[in-house]
């Protein structure tokens, strides 16, 4: 188990050395500093779990140090060490966020108790943040839905690779659910109690991506007012998910490769090496092999990340999943909108199943969300679905005369609200012929 790190900041050498021995015996990793400036310098060696800070010191006193700590490392827990006469100042320190104060000389039991409480509170705070992230992740996430053989195969692969530490590349068209699969791998892995940290490499400008991944020290560049941890550091213990990995610029490819080889890096503007134990999962809708051939993607990085590959089928290749997905999204949006669940009319289901879904599951979800908003009553009808669905309802690959006739009859029937006589008149055929065609094509006429 990692030793807790503590820094003792006091101008009296005897206090520093005696507390150092005291905390060493308690199993801490101990650093000492003789005043606030010295402490700030030593903070560069890495984060501390706890700082014990004397109030009265030359150059930079305890109060000034605490103000600076709020800028540099707001997460650090501070216990103030003060002479009895300076209790008023200690109270000021509490208002600035110190955990507690103890007066010198301090009873060993009081010191031990205060330190234990401070560390416990820090642990609980960190755990709370982690659990909140986890809960929000779980509540926001969509389970992977699909009974098709294609998705069954994907889930088998997820189960196989999740237990390992292998890097994974998830490939698939936009909207096929690559991030969901990444999260499913993380959720089934031994790292599931630590965070999964996602970065969309294609959505962040190159100049910001470096800071996003590696973090930066205060003053590393104009506007870097505070130290900031990068996503690689935040993924320590968990999974780093790099979406749109094919968009990562060449310089960053070199930096990323170096991190993947050593799991060590420095924040921008920093010199201290930071270690991060993460598992890498990437996703792309690009052909990485083609990018390697075009020298747009480093071959060594390609081999490093592509230990295991999962291909997600587009929705048009698993039409049998549309009904399940639709039911899931209807239920999801009924809950979130506080509306009673709606049922799809057969015509609406028919329409969804005859569409090509270039935007895949994401497009389907958007279509259902819109239908839930605009639809009246307890049924979702074709006209509630986005116009684009209706216009493109006939899949480009399904342009036979029969398919066109079927789609056209279905549309006219919808426009005439299922009135067969009226529809027959519009179509220029008699009612009997229309009934035959409705029966032949299995078009729902209700």
């Amino acid at each position: 188990m990692k030793k807790p790190r503590i820094m003792i900041v006091d101008d009296e050498q005897s206090v520093r050395s005696s507390l150092r021995e005291w905390f060493l015996e308690d199993g801490f990793e101990v650093e000492t500093a003789e005043d606030g400036l010295d402490a700030l310098k030593k903070l560069e060696s890495g984060p501390f779990d706890l700082m014990i800070v004397d109030l009265k010191m030359p150059r930079m006193d305890g109060i000034s140090l605490q103000r600076r700590l709020q800028e540099v490392d707001p997460a650090v827990t501070v216990v103030i060490l003060t002479a009895f006469a300076a209790v008023d100042t200690a109270v000021e320190a509490l208002k600035l966020g110190a955990f507690d104060y103890v007066t010198k000389p301090v009873d060993p039991d009081e010191l031990s108790h205060t330190v234990r409480r401070a560390l416990e509170q820090k642990r609980l705070t960190e755990e709370n943040v982690r659990l909140r992230e986890k809960v929000s992740e779980l509540s926001a996430s969509t389970p992977i839905i699909g009974g098709s053989p294609a998705m069954g195969h994907v889930m088998d692969l997820v189960g196989t690779v999740a237990e390992t530490e292998a890097s994974v590349v998830i490939r698939g068209e936009s909207g096929t659910g690559k991030e969901l699969v990444a999260r499913a791998i993380h959720a089934a892995s031994p790292r599931r109690f630590f965070p999964i940290v996602a970065v969309n490499c294609g959505a962040i400008p190159e100049t910001l991506l470096e800071s996003e991944l590696f973090g930066h020290e205060k003053g590393a560049f104009t506007g870097a007012h505070y130290r900031r941890k990068g996503k690689i550091e935040l993924a320590n213990g968990g999974t780093l998910f790099l979406d749109e990995i094919g968009e990562i610029p060449p310089k960053m490819q070199v930096d990323l490769l170096r991190v993947l080889e050593s799991h060590r890096f420095s924040r921008l503007g920093g010199t201290q090496e930071i270690e991060s134990d993460f598992r890498l999962v990437c996703a792309t809708n690009r052909n990485l092999e083609a990018l390697v051939k075009e020298d747009a993607f480093r071959e060594d990085l390609y081999y490093r990340i592509n230990v295991f590959s999962i291909d997600l089928p587009p929705l048009r290749d698993r039409l049998e999943d549309i009904q399940l997905l639709t039911e899931h999204f209807v239920e999801k949006y009924s809950r979130s909108m506080g509306k009673p669940p709606k049922r799809m009319t057969e015509a609406a289901v028919e329409l969804l199943q005859s569409y090509d879904w270039p935007g895949n599951v994401r497009e389907l979800e958007n279509a259902i969300e819109r239908a839930m908003v605009v639809g009246q009553g307890n049924r979702i009808r074709p006209e509630d679905l986005p116009l684009r669905v209706e216009q493109d309802a006939v899949r480009p690959r399904d342009r036979s005369l029969e398919a066109l006739e079927r789609a056209h009859i279905a549309r006219i029937l919808r426009e005439e609200s299922g009135n067969v006589s009226q529809a027959a008149r519009v179509l220029g055929i008699d009612r009997g012929t229309l009934y035959n065609k409705i029966k032949k094509y299995g078009i729902p006429s209700g």
Partner: protein
């Protein structure tokens, strides 16, 4: 460095239970232990404003008296000890170092207004000496409350623990590097 441990009773303090202490510390540490009296002038370590004695400075002086054949020396005194930032200490050792001091003043039952109890005092003294020696061997505090290496900041906690190292600490002892020679 030898395995031998010297329990040095400081100045005029030589309790009747010193031989029992030797035997029980030897059993707990599995080392050869001898006892002796050591005359050290305590006055230079006295802090009049606190009415106590500076443990760190006393420990440094004690180390100057460590005989070459003693791997570890533990000074045992009846005066009250402190380190500057704390109100008192039962004892002090160097982590992984050859020296330690232990005060029995706050181990007396009558210090807390209770009837004197020499057996209880001996029990507590054994635990404190074995505890400080554990630090000298390189052990840090143990989370097992019954282990002699658990942290005790008041005397009832001393009573709660046994005078032996727990199996985890014994495991650590068998794997720790040799002790450091530096002086406080």
């Amino acid at each position: 460095m030898t395995d031998e441990i010297l329990l040095a009773f400081l100045t005029d303090f030589r309790p009747p239970w010193s031989e029992d202490l030797r035997r029980r510390v030897g059993a707990a540490t599995d080392r050869f232990v001898r006892v002796d009296s050591l005359r050290i002038e305590l006055q230079p370590f006295h802090a009049p404003e606190r009415g106590q004695y500076h443990a760190t400075l006393l420990l440094a002086e004690l180390l100057r008296h460590r005989p070459p054949d003693a791997g570890h020396i533990v000074g045992i005194t009846e005066v009250d000890l402190f380190i500057p930032v704390l109100t008192f200490v039962f004892g002090q050792a160097q982590l992984g170092g050859p020296g330690a001091v232990v005060s029995v003043m706050r181990l007396h039952a009558d210090y807390y207004g209770l009837p004197a109890d020499e057996n209880l005092l001996l029990d507590r003294a054994v635990k404190e000496v074995v505890h400080e020696l554990g630090h000298g061997f390189g052990l840090v505090h143990c989370p097992d409350y019954s282990c002699v290496m658990s942290s005790s900041t008041y005397v009832e906690e001393v009573d709660l623990k046994a005078e032996r190292y727990c199996p985890d600490c014994l495991d650590l002892l068998s794997n720790l590097p040799e002790t450091r020679e530096s002086v406080v």
